[in-house]
C-alpha cells in the first residue's frame, strides 16, 4: 500500500506535558492490517499504553483516528474514532463519531492525532493546514460545547471544525463525551473525561488539502453503486430520513423489549407511542440532517416552543437510545422532557444512554428506600419528568447529587448497597433493548469489548427487523455464530471511516469494494473481513491484560422473568449462548482467544 491512497500518511503526536508536536509517518503495515479509525487507533494504543494504566492519569494516551475512506465520496464516509482506556469500564474504550470534523482533519493533511501526557494549564490544539500549535484555553475552560464551539469559530474562523469537551469532561464525569460540530458525539465510555484529565479542551481544524484514492475510476464505480443501493433501500433511503432512529420505539415495544423503569417493571410500555419517532416527527421535528457525504441523513433538528412546554429549546436529536433512556427507562412519556434532557447532554457533552440509565437506577433505589431524599434534595420517582431533567442538569453542573450521578449507575448503586441494580455490563449501561426478550442482544451486551453496548453487534437487525436474515428473538440457537459475524463486520466498518448505518443496506462486498479501490488492495472480501476479526481479538486481548471482568449480565436479566408481553416468562439464557459463541470465535471455554486463533490472526506476538 502506498501513502496518499485514502491516507495522508502523516500522524500528529502531541505531547501535552512539554508542548512538543511531532509529525510522524503513518505505520502503513498497521494501517493495512487494522484498516483504520477504530482498528488502527486501537493498535497504536495497544502498542504504546500499559493496559493497567489509570485512564485519568497523565500516562494515559488519547488517540483520534480517521479511516482511509474518511473524507472521500464513499458512502457516508465522514466518521472518525477516539480511542483510549475507558474510565467508566476500565476496558478499551473507543467512540465513533460523524459530522464533518474527521474529513477536515484529513484535508489538513493528518490521518490522526496521538495525545500524550498532561498540559499544565487548559489548552486546545489549533490545526490550520501546516500550522499546528497548542494554544491557551483559559477563557474556554468551563464553557459548554456550544459556547466553546462558537468562541473558537469566532477566534479562529468560521470554517474551522471543532471537537470539544464541556465541563462534564473537565470535572471527570465518567461518561463525558467529546462533541464535534456541536451535536455529533464520540459519546460512550468517557473519552471526554480522558481529554479533560489532560487539560485539553478542544481540537480545531481547518484543511485546504485533498484526499486521494488509489484507483479513482474503480472507486467511483463502487461508490456510485453503493450510493444507489442506499437511496433505493426502504430504511436507508426513506425510513431513517423521515423518522430517525426513534422509529424503533414502537416495534421494540411490540416485541416486548423496551425496558421500563430500569427494567424493574418489564419491557412493555403502554405509552410507547408518546416517545416514538412518529410522534417526534409530528410534533417537534423541523427537518432531518445528514453528516458528511451521507445519503441517509438520519439526524434530527428539533424544537420545542415555550408555549408548548416548560421543556422548551432547540437542538439536535434525540436518537432512539435517548428516547428510551429518558423515556420509558425512567417511566416518562413526556417527549418534550426527553428532548430537553437530550439537548442538555449535547450541550454538556454527556452520553445520554448512561445518563438516563443512571437516573433510572437512582429512581429505583429511591423508591425502595435505599437513597435518602436528603442526599438528592428532592424526591426522585419513576415518571417524574421534572426531576429527571433536573438530574441531568445537576450532573452537567457537578452539583450535589449530580456528582454521584456523574460516576455512572454502577458506582451509584454500589454506594447505596445494591450494585446488582445497575443495568450495566462491565460498568457500562446497557442500551434500549431488553436482553430477556431479544436473546442475541443479551449476548452482545455480555461479550462486547467496551461493556454494555448494542451497536457493535447489532443483533436487533436480524432478530427484530429481519435484516439481512430473519431470526427468532426468543431462541438461543445460532446466535453465537451470527453475533460473531456482526461484531467482525462492525469492527471492519468502524475502521474504514464509513458509517455503520450503511450496513442496513450494504453488505461486506460493498464495504470491501469501496475500501479496496481507495487503498489499492486486491484482497478478497473474506480477507478484509478477517481484519475485523483481528481487531475484535486485539481489543479482547487488551481487556484480558487490563483485568476486565468476565462476560456476564446483571442478575435481573439472568433471573427475573419478564412479567408480561410476548416474551413473558423469559430470562436471558446467557450460558448456552456464551458456550456457542466462544466456540465459534475459536476461544477457550473460559472465553479467551486460543494460541491457534491468535496465530491465525497474526496476533501471537502482541505483548503488552
Amino acid at each position: 500500500m502506498t501513502v496518499g491512497n485514502g491516507w495522508t500518511g502523516t500522524l500528529l503526536r502531541v505531547n501535552l506535558t512539554d508542548g512538543t508536536i511531532i509529525r510522524e509517518a503513518l505505520n502503513m503495515k498497521d494501517a493495512n492490517d487494522y484498516v483504520g479509525a477504530r482498528g488502527l487507533g486501537t493498535k497504536y494504543y495497544c502498542n504504546e499504553v500499559d493496559p493497567k494504566i489509570d485512564p485519568l492519569s497523565a500516562e494515559n494516551k488519547l488517540i483520534f483516528m480517521t479511516g482511509p475512506c474518511t473524507g472521500t465520496l464513499a458512502s457516508s464516509a465522514g466518521r472518525y474514532e477516539v480511542v483510549s482506556k475507558s474510565p467508566l469500564t476500565g476496558a478499551i474504550g473507543a467512540a465513533n463519531s460523524g459530522g464533518h470534523f474527521g474529513p477536515e482533519l484529513k484535508y489538513a493533511g493528518y490521518d490522526g492525532i496521538i495525545f500524550e501526557g498532561k498540559a499544565e494549564k487548559p489548552c486546545y490544539l489549533y490545526i490550520n493546514d501546516d500550522v499546528v500549535e497548542l494554544r491557551c484555553a483559559k477563557d474556554l475552560w468551563g464553557k459548554n460545547v456550544h459556547e466553546a464551539t462558537d468562541m473558537l469559530n469566532a477566534e479562529c474562523g468560521e470554517d474551522f471544525r471543532v471537537a470539544t469537551i464541556a465541563p462534564s469532561g473537565e470535572n471527570g464525569v465518567l461518561f463525558a463525551g467529546i462533541m464535534n460540530d456541536k451535536n455529533r458525539a464520540a459519546g460512550r465510555g468517557g473519552m471526554g473525561a480522558v481529554m479533560g484529565s489532560k487539560n485539553l479542551k478542544a481540537v480545531v481544524v481547518r484543511g485546504t488539502g485533498s484526499v486521494k484514492v488509489a484507483r479513482p475510476e474503480g472507486f467511483l464505480k463502487e461508490v456510485a453503486n453503493a450510493r444507489k443501493m442506499l437511496i433505493e433501500h426502504p430504511v436507508c433511503g426513506e425510513g431513517l430520513a423521515a423518522f430517525g432512529t426513534e422509529i424503533l420505539v414502537n416495534i421494540i415495544n411490540e416485541v416486548g423489549g423496551l425496558p421500563v423503569n430500569n427494567g424493574r417493571d418489564g419491557a412493555s410500555y403502554d405509552k410507547a407511542y408518546d416517545i416514538s419517532g412518529e410522534n417526534l416527527a409530528e410534533k417537534h421535528l423541523l427537518k432531518n440532517q445528514g453528516c458528511f457525504g451521507c445519503t441517509i441523513a438520519c439526524g434530527r433538528v428539533t424544537k420545542v416552543k415555550p408555549d408548548e412546554s416548560e421543556f422548551y429549546g432547540f437542538g439536535e436529536g434525540p436518537e432512539y437510545e435517548a428516547g428510551w433512556s429518558f423515556g420509558s427507562d425512567c417511566g416518562i412519556n413526556d417527549i418534550a422532557a426527553v428532548l430537553k434532557a437530550n439537548w442538555i447532554c449535547n450541550e454538556e457533552g454527556m452520553d445520554p444512554i448512561t445518563m438516563g440509565a443512571t437516573i433510572a437506577c437512582a429512581m429505583e433505589l429511591f423508591e425502595m428506600g435505599a437513597i435518602p431524599e436528603s442526599d438528592i434534595g428532592f424526591p426522585l420517582r419513576f415518571g417524574d419528568a421534572e426531576a429527571m431533567v433536573k438530574c441531568v442538569r445537576m450532573t452537567a453542573d457537578a452539583q450535589g447529587f449530580g456528582k454521584i450521578l456523574g460516576q455512572g449507575s454502577y458506582r451509584l448503586a454500589d454506594k447505596y448497597g445494591h450494585p446488582e441494580l445497575s443495568m450495566s455490563v462491565k460498568k457500562q449501561e446497557m442500551p434500549a433493548y431488553d436482553g430477556r426478550a431479544i436473546q442475541g442482544i443479551a449476548l452482545e451486551y455480555a461479550t462486547s469489548n467496551r461493556g454494555g453496548c448494542h451497536v457493535r453487534g447489532y443483533m436487533i437487525s436480524p432478530e427484530v427487523l429481519g435484516l439481512p436474515i430473519k431470526t427468532d428473538p426468543l431462541v438461543t440457537e445460532g446466535k453465537g455464530a451470527l453475533l460473531k459475524t456482526f461484531q467482525d463486520l462492525t469492527a471492519l466498518c468502524d475502521s474504514t471511516g464509513i458509517c455503520l448505518f450503511t450496513t442496513f443496506a450494504l453488505g461486506l462486498p460493498e464495504l470491501a469494494g469501496q475500501y479496496r479501490e481507495a487503498v489499492d488492495s486486491d484482497e478478497s472480501d473474506e480477507e478484509i473481513l478477517l481484519k475485523g476479526e483481528r481487531i475484535w481479538n486485539l481489543e479482547k486481548r487488551f481487556n484480558m491484560e487490563a483485568g476486565v471482568e468476565k462476560d456476564t449480565l446483571p442478575p435481573r436479566l439472568l433471573r427475573e422473568e419478564l412479567p408480561s408481553g410476548p416474551a413473558k416468562g423469559k430470562v436471558a439464557e446467557l450460558q448456552t449462548m456464551l458456550a456457542d459463541y466462544y466456540e465459534v470465535r475459536g476461544w477457550s471455554k473460559e472465553g479467551e482467544p486460543t494460541s491457534e486463533k491468535l496465530k491465525e490472526l497474526e496476533l501471537q506476538d502482541i505483548s503488552f
Binding site: E254, K470, G565
Partner: protein, 92 residues
C-alpha cells in the same frame, strides 16, 4: 381485532390503530388492507405481485411475534389477537 400501524403506514390508513373483525389469516388481512387502502397496493405494497405472500420489506407481527415464526401469511387470526404492521425499518 386490533391492527396497529407504524411509520409511513400511519398516513396510508389515516389512523394508528383500527379495530376490525378478525379475518381468518394474515394473508386475508393483508389482502383486505390492500383493497381498502389503495396505497397498500400501489406505492406501499404489502403483497407480492402474485398476491400470495407478504413482501420482504414489510414486517408483520401477531401479539409481538413475527409471522415468519408462526407459519408466515397462513398464520391464523382471532378477535383477541393484536396485529402490528410496519414497513422495514432500522435504527441504532
Amino acid at each position: 381485532m386490533q391492527v396497529k400501524f407504524f411509520a409511513t403506514y400511519i398516513s396510508v390508513v389515516g389512523q394508528r390503530v383500527i379495530d376490525i373483525p378478525a379475518p381468518s389469516s394474515v394473508l386475508d388481512l393483508l389482502t383486505y388492507l390492500s383493497q381498502k387502502y389503495p396505497e397498500f397496493s400501489t406505492t406501499k405494497k404489502l403483497l407480492t405481485d402474485d398476491g400470495l405472500d407478504m413482501r420482504d420489506d414489510v414486517i408483520c407481527m401477531v401479539n409481538g411475534r413475527h409471522i415468519i415464526h408462526m407459519g408466515g401469511v397462513n398464520c391464523p387470526l382471532t378477535d383477541r389477537d393484536v396485529v402490528a404492521i410496519t414497513p422495514q425499518m432500522a435504527g441504532g
